[in-house]
Symmetry: C2
Subunit: 337 residues, 2 copies
């Protein structure tokens, strides 16, 4: 089965050029069909000017674009004719298998919830950010969709994250941990204490307890559960500190001629490290819990980021993540009844 | 005036040996008097075995020790005869100018609040963690004393942090930022939205708005305000990621003989960087808002960490931080009345 990915051609800081490049690379390397939403004339002109083939890409013309400054609900109201809103509607109507956008996160969350809808029984959709750690990756969710959460939401984030890591990332029996300020059960606010009990009491989950920020970059857990405020804080601090330290290392390299010469030798290996630490490289975050696959690509996505986002989205579709989550939630509802 | 620092000789993972070494170095280099609390016989034996001079150090004998496993209120109850509890009582009685402990944070917070008491008008004491950033340091508070906070508490953390950075760290007109998930005023939970307004509406503070985790390591702010749960998450993630990235860099260095040779050239400069990133090196965190200066040294404090903690504590005393906070709070109460 050929997967068809709907792509917001006007989402993110580098749209539409880098988006189109990424789509062309995805068609070539990943054997997918693309359905682009956006201003058709601009898409065709940019593609022509940069000799980007539009092979296996349809275009659905749309008029407006959601910017980073727009309020989230613009996607439902004054910008209901935007490339993002149209992409979400096309997905809901079954015109493609998944939707990818590098645009405004808040609008994408709201649009996903209202136009694509949630899986029955799922209380909130969540951003699942993929972060590097020792010996692999981990999924941090919610990394920013929900500022305020209840324990059942956090419990569901753990459940969905576990399914993602198993089905898409190929991790067997993923270790789920709750982000917290200490390892003991009684740590954290009431929200965290209650979530701890919910995760602990589900025998189908491999819950390993609380994890502190210090231990996250180690090979400790595969899924990190947090409310969207805390998760976003962890995500951004993670990103900021990693880049900061690498910059400091670079400064050491430039400190003297002797250092510069030494640095030249290890430059390539260090660039590779920088890429592996760059969360932009992983593509972005699936919006977990939506009735159909929606993927948030990083706002500053370049062609390669977008291609990676499409690759992960294709895996998401091919591994039936939505159906597995749906079944798990049904099972839970029956068990608890 | 000679400052006398009361030191918990049995707090932390490396007590009493590293604590005693740190105190001896402090006496030598910082011209302070020390009052040690702990088991006198053990202190004298360890000092003798390691040839640590106890010059300018008094000892007040205590029987028990608070461990990391003890519940915070042990300091008031079953371990009221501990080195930590006695140190806090001696401080309250005026037998020294400040108290330093590398022991159990929760117990130290509770003991400080109940035995030393808070400055009048201050709603909660807060841990102020000193973190490295581009071109200097920043103070993150609360970094773990209060899991649940109200807006007025966060506002006071900003006020106290500003005083600390100005008086102890010598920063003119310190920039205060609120940790948040976006720069706009309306971002975050109600707690953060209301705190934003309180900080913004105080003309005596140099409030620069919200700061995301990504921008904290840059030269963005001097004081970062957060609730204790979020602050602790930022602090630990910061620490964990910095050490993780440096470990990854080290792995690159060991990857091949060619890399190893190059690494040898820059080894010293990199060790210096590692030290500057190590939050253990800065000594720890003042417990801001207490009626007398209490300083939490890092739990894994070695001699050098403890000496740094004593140095910062001495500055805290010499610059009358408690009095300045007390005056500022009084001013606020009068202004708001």
């Amino acid at each position: 089965m050929i997967v068809k990915i709907i792509v917001d051609a006007f989402g993110g800081d580098n749209a539409p050029l880098e988006i189109l490049k990424g789509c062309a690379d995805a068609v070539n390397e990943l054997d997918v069909d693309i359905l682009l939403t956006g201003d058709e004339e601009t898409i065709r002109r940019v593609a022509k000017n940069h000799q980007i083939p539009l092979y296996r890409m349809e275009i659905v013309h749309t008029k407006s674009v959601i910017t980073m400054e727009d309020h989230p609900n613009a996607v439902l109201k004054e910008k209901a004719d935007s490339s993002m809103a149209e992409g979400l509607r096309l997905l809901a109507e079954g015109k493609g298998d998944a939707f990818v956008s590098a645009g405004n996160s808040g609008a994408l969350t709201m649009g996903t919830t209202m136009l694509v809808k949630r899986i029955k029984g799922i209380k909130r959709v969540a951003f699942g950010a993929i972060l590097p750690r020792l010996n692999g990756n981990m999924l941090l969710l919610d990394s920013g969709a929900n500022v305020e959460c209840r324990p059942e939401m956090l419990y569901q984030f753990g459940l969905m994250g576990s399914i993602y890591m198993e089905k898409v990332m190929g991790v067997k029996n993923p270790r789920i941990a709750l982000a917290n300020v200490g390892e003991e059960e009684h740590k954290g606010s009431e929200l965290y204490q209650q979530t701890y009990q919910l995760l602990k009491n589900d025998p189908s989950l491999n819950f390993i307890g609380n994890v502190e920020g210090r231990d996250m970059p180690g090979d400790t857990a595969d899924v990190i559960v947090a409310d969207g405020f805390t998760g976003n804080m962890i995500l951004k601090t993670f990103e900021g500190v990693a880049l900061f330290v690498l910059k400091m290392v670079k400064d050491v390299f430039c400190k003297s001629t002797k250092n510069k010469l030494a640095a030249a030798v290890i430059k390539n290996d260090l660039s590779e490290l920088k890429r592996s630490m760059d969360y932009n490289e992983t593509g972005g975050a699936p919006i977990m819990g939506a009735l159909k696959p929606v993927f948030k690509a990083h706002g500053s996505a370049k062609a390669n980021t977008l291609k990676n986002a499409i690759r992960l989205t294709k895996e998401y579709v091919a591994n039936h993540v939505v159906e597995v989550i749906s079944q798990s939630v049904k099972g839970n509802i029956t068990n608890n009844a």
